[in-house]
Symmetry: C2
Subunit: 235 residues, 2 copies
């Protein structure tokens, strides 16, 4: 499988700008002849049409054309024929509900697992690639009708990973939340991806991408996470 | 119904200390002769035994005795006979899963709705009193096996309500999250309860409790929320 899973999309430079070199590498040869099938369903406050335009504009420098799944008359056929599937961030629960209700969740999993399509996702789109949606940071604004997701990787991802905590706030820190996950889900590791970072999976090879000053975190239990340096990653 | 729904439990003064005057008022006459049935299932990093001790110690000044539901040999009978049900905070998903799997969710709803038991909940315990768990801030660490909850009040609560946002963090603000909820759940209002505040429901009367400097927020759609002053509340 060819996967690129990013913590986030926006950056001071612009939407997806920080990730364009990695997206070019992920896209493979001749991206100017390729078309991306974009999944906009995590978008809630922006419309799916607006989200398609935003992503098409952002990916234009790579040569990749973009078409949103919500405009396909035969979405399952579009998935079965896609070579590049891109899943945008937003609300993970809204994303999973829409994909499950339409049968598109299983279709995407099958297409990517078979090697037919490369997969790029950020934020909710990175959560979607994991076994379950359990390490999303999002508010559960709708019932996802089940917690299992694509299962493209054998670990969970926590996007927007941070150790910051607003002063005076008495809710849990991110580490506390992930320790609670570890307690109830023993044996399931979690990759914490700070803003601006990501993971590239190319067959059996895994590489962590981003600023060397912001290592990823690897939670394998209730103890404090290990720091994972950027670069080649052997877990 | 007699309900007391609090944003949070911990305070600089100690566990539940800030809420003791309101808890005394909620407990009704002769609390020294009453026993609280405590629901500890939202606790994940603390054990249910530890949680029972913590709450028993915290409520001692009110005269209320505390017994945890997890130690009852016949939990459904214990719920059916309870006069005071107290649901602690922690992880809403873990709480709802345990209550649903055991049939205790429906039993608690019936007992409180019938007027047989008073209900106190903080954080996840306040979320539980709402129609659905959709406005929890918690990480979805386990599948709650459905999103409906007790439905004791006709609105949603967002506990630990804050407008703070860690600098450089590119996830959603709380207002953005609640606007997303409003977009996908039109007509369902949300009460944002800042730290230290709560709502007391005594039959048809509703009162907002807490520091007058920290008004509650009332979201009825995608626009900015209304500020609700502490004190008698007519919505």
């Amino acid at each position: 499988m060819q996967l690129l899973l990013l913590s986030n999309s926006s950056s001071p430079q612009g939407f997806l700008t920080h990730a364009l070199p990695d997206i070019r590498q992920w896209a493979g040869p001749a991206p100017e002849n390729a078309s991306v099938l974009f999944v906009p369903y995590a978008g809630v406050t922006r419309t799916w049409d607006e989200y398609e335009t935003l992503v098409a504009d952002a990916l234009r420098p790579t040569g990749l054309a973009v078409r949103s799944l919500h405009r396909e008359a035969a979405p399952l056929a579009a998935i079965a024929g896609a070579t590049h599937i891109v899943v945008g961030g937003g609300n993970t629960f809204a994303l999973v509900r829409q994909l499950r209700q339409t049968g598109q969740l299983a279709a995407i999993a099958e297409r990517v697992r078979s090697g037919g399509a490369r997969y790029l996702g950020w934020s909710a789109g990175a959560n979607l690639a994991c076994p379950r949606l359990c390490t999303s940071n999002d508010m559960p604004i709708v019932d996802p009708l089940g917690f299992d997701t694509l299962g493209l990787v054998p670990f969970q991802i926590n996007p927007h990973y941070t150790e910051a905590h607003p002063e005076g706030h008495r809710g849990e820190t991110r580490q506390q939340r992930l320790r609670e996950f570890a307690l109830l889900n023993p044996g399931v590791p979690v990759l914490g991806l700070p803003e601006g970072t990501g993971v590239r999976i190319d067959g059996d090879s895994r590489t962590l991408l981003g600023d060397p000053q912001t290592p990823a975190r690897w939670f394998t239990g209730v103890q404090a996470p290990a720091l994972l340096p950027m670069g080649s990653w052997k877990s």
